[in-house]
């Protein structure tokens, strides 16, 4: 059948370990990206020319460069050019945070920009301080807008971690390929079952995040 390869030896455990490797890297990167992205996004919304200039360059680099190229540059390039020997995990966290922060900052900037000026003016007319304006008028709207957008980003980051196999990290998809190949002749149909299980594992990892988003959206509904 093909299903039995999953029960052979420690295959199932290896898949779970692979998933946890992928989740470790992606969740750390997500945390860093959210923090840096929010800070950068707020800076970008402030219309400072210097900030805008540099953030534009940064965003363009992230947009143009495939993540795989970034991984190679950071992992191999850093050793070859400046002689720093990063571990594969560190290199991938750097790359995914670099990418995630850029996307997050753009989302934050967009959300902040979408609040019409009249709201700032109205709250000033009500003699609210600028802190109170942000705390009670702007932020609640921005956060609500950001939830579905950032959930998209987070799940995308989790799924993109499969690229780290290119710098030698054995994550869930790589373990799957290893299992399929090791049983290539004995059970040629193993691929279907292995990928089905990987699909379910990714689903189990990403679904709670979607649930959380739905819960928060409902909770903060106006």
């Amino acid at each position: 059948m093909g299903f039995e390869v999953l029960l052979k030896g420690s295959n199932m455990l290896r898949l779970l370990e692979g998933l946890s490797t992928a989740l470790n890297i992606s969740l750390i990167s997500v945390a860093i990206s959210l923090v840096l992205g929010i800070i950068l996004g707020i800076l970008m919304a402030m219309h400072n020319r210097v900030v805008l200039f540099f953030s534009k360059i940064y965003l363009e680099i992230v947009r143009i460069m495939p993540q795989m190229v970034l991984l190679f540059i950071v992992y191999f390039g850093s050793t070859k050019v400046i002689g720093i020997n990063l571990s594969a995990e560190t290199a991938s966290i750097i790359v995914f945070s670099f990418w995630g922060a850029a996307e997050m900052s753009d989302l934050v900037r967009g959300a902040l920009k979408s609040i019409p000026t009249i709201q700032y003016e109205s709250s000033a007319a009500l003699s609210l301080s600028s802190f109170m304006t942000y705390r009670y008028i702007i932020m609640p709207q921005v956060v609500r807008m950001l939830i579905p957008l950032s959930i998209n980003l987070i799940t995308r980051m989790i799924k993109t971690t499969s690229l780290v196999m290119m710098i030698g990290i054995v994550e869930v998809l790589k373990v799957g390929q290893q299992i399929i190949e090791a049983n290539r002749t004995a059970s040629p149909n193993a691929a279907f079952w292995v990928f089905l299980v990987i699909f379910l594992l990714y689903f189990a990892a990403c679904w709670p995040i979607s649930l959380l988003s739905r819960f928060l959206e409902k909770k903060w509904k106006v």
Partner: protein, 301 residues
Amino acid sequence: MKKNLIKNIKAKKIITGALALVLGASMLGACGKSDAANGENGAQKLKANGKVYRTLDEIKKSGTINIGVFSDKNPFGYVDENGDYQGYDVYLANRIGKDLGVEINYVSTEAANRVEYLESGKVDIVLANFTVTDERAQKVDFALPYMNVALGVVSHKDKVIKDIEKVSSDEQVIVISGTTAETFLEKNYPDIKLQKFDTYAAAKTSFENGTGIAWANDNTEVIAFAKENEGYEVGIPSLGSQDTIAPAVSKGNESLLKWLNDELVTLGKEKFFHADYEKTLIDTYGADYEDTLVVEQGDNK
């Protein structure tokens, strides 16, 4: 209002449960992590003079050697159900580790990053079905070869092609785009009509349905195909230039290269690679091709 509250509690329960599952998986990873941590310990300290590799003495002193192998290319380098590396290349790697008296830290490499690994010194030796080419030899140093590869041609049993010249002008030969088989046939036999496919699977299906008279590919591939599938025969087991597969080290790592070459000669004397073939490759390629594929150093001297 109350209904909403109950719904909320339910949603919370589901989320907590799901989160617990994810966290549980993360915890499991703690044991998986130790693997990666080992890699860190074995990783080399860089020297100020820009030398990226580790010399033989440095490897021996550290007690660990980093060897890049494939982890999903059965039967050359793969991982078995217990998580252990196996295969023709790994059999050699294990012996190298034993003879050096060091532990082996296996690094899972891909075809596309084997050169990078050596150029950055992140592995000491690559043993990943690495075909010796002039272009690669400018970037890495190859040791003596331990296996042959050439092109091979498989055809249907009822009409076996034994000579590539005999393919007539109205017959087609199947190749996979971007392979050495394609370049070789286009360059040396421009009259032969080629049917090109992007993937192995497409070429296979098409060949099985009889659209082409023969299929040209790496000989290891066609031999394995003929052995796995009934009704096909490899009429030409080796065509064109013979390429070899050899261990590779970082450019300029003389001490390790010399040790490897001496080791390969010693191993050749005890017919090590024949034993390796019989242990790892015989199920895929059969006994007939043992002498075609295996290279022993000191054999021909």
